[in-house]
């Protein structure tokens, strides 16, 4: 049984969770609003993914209690995940954009 997480639960309290829930809903509202602005797709992608990363961070930190766990758990789990995702992005995305530029020539 994890004493640390239990302590985190007690420290956090229901009010904090309601605050986090409220922020998550607010960010969702902003995302829906942004979707109806006539912005270029790359800019929209950056804005929406930025907000999603913030929302994901709030969920992991507070709802999943990673903030209240030992730092060693964070170091074991998160950097490896972020590194792997970055590797996927770095290797794939330039290729997808290149494919788009070559599209007319290939057709």
């Amino acid at each position: 049984m994890s004493g640390t997480a239990s302590a985190g639960h007690t420290q956090a309290g229901s009010r904090l969770y309601v605050w986090v829930w409220g922020w998550l809903l607010a960010f969702t509202g902003v995302e829906v609003y942004l979707a109806y602005l006539h912005l270029p797709v790359p800019l929209m992608l950056v804005l929406l993914m930025g907000l999603s990363v913030i929302k994901g961070g709030l969920i992991v930190a507070y709802f999943m209690h990673l903030r209240f766990e030992r730092f060693s758990l964070f170091l074991t789990l998160i950097p490896a995940l972020v590194f792997s995702i970055c590797i996927i992005l770095i290797f794939f995305f330039p290729d997808s954009l290149r494919l788009n530029e070559l599209g007319p020539a290939l057709r």
Partner: protein, 214 residues
């Protein structure tokens, strides 16, 4: 001898001792599963984004009403179910069994509402003629990958939600009958929040980037 060694390790600067994360094996196992599943969804979402960027055109078939309203409501239900889930975990740690089971049932209700709305959305699109291998819209011809990526991503996520609802049902039953500990409730919560977390990326990528402008 063994005790002395454990004491030395426990008092090292590292401070990890024999339990470096200070969590139980079930919880650590769920964390490892969550990270591996996060990579699965990441790869799928990157593949979807790749296809979208590399395609000369991409359908934007979701009108504000009902598709975006429904998808936003689904987000509301999932976020609210995450709130009830943390409250269930808190109640479980305090030893309040009845209250914890009540919050767990509330969480299951949120998940079920999400699935119901999502299935309604699926049936609507299938009725329009959307299939995993073809799109029915004349405005966006030759975009068959839209159907594949839509059904693939949302279907895998919906499967996770459905498994989560059953999982929470088992946990609620077992915790109510004093067969499971509060740690089991917390571990199921990790899974549920992860399902919520994944939707935070699917919702903008699939729905909000494909809204039909007036």
């Amino acid at each position: 001898m063994a005790d002395a060694r454990a004491q030395v390790i426990g008092e090292s600067r590292w401070g990890g001792g024999l339990a470096p994360y200070a969590i139980g094996s079930k919880k650590f196992g769920m964390w490892l599963f969550v990270i591996s599943d996060a990579l699965t969804f990441s790869a799928l979402l990157v593949a979807y984004s790749y296809v979208r960027l590399a395609s000369p055109q991409w359908p934007t078939p979701f009108p504000f009403s009902p598709a975006i309203i429904y998808a936003t409501l689904m987000t509301f239900f999932l976020l609210s179910s995450s709130l009830t889930m943390v409250l269930a975990v808190s109640a479980a740690h305090r030893g309040e069994h009845r209250r914890a089971v009540g919050w767990l049932l509330g969480t299951m209700a949120g998940g079920t509402a999400f699935i119901a709305l999502h299935l309604r959305e699926w049936l609507h699109l299938i009725h329009e003629g959307l299939r995993p291998w073809q799109t029915p819209w004349a405005d966006w011809p030759n975009t068959p990958l839209f159907g594949g990526s839509f059904f693939g991503l949302t279907g895998l996520h919906m499967l996770h939600v459905a498994i989560g609802v059953v999982y929470l049902g088992v946990i609620a039953y077992g915790f109510g009958r004093r067969k499971f500990s509060s740690e089991d409730v917390e571990v199921s919560g990790l899974y549920w929040h992860f399902v919520d977390l994944v939707w935070m990326f699917i919702f903008p990528l699939i729905y909000l980037l494909s809204v039909r402008m007036a």
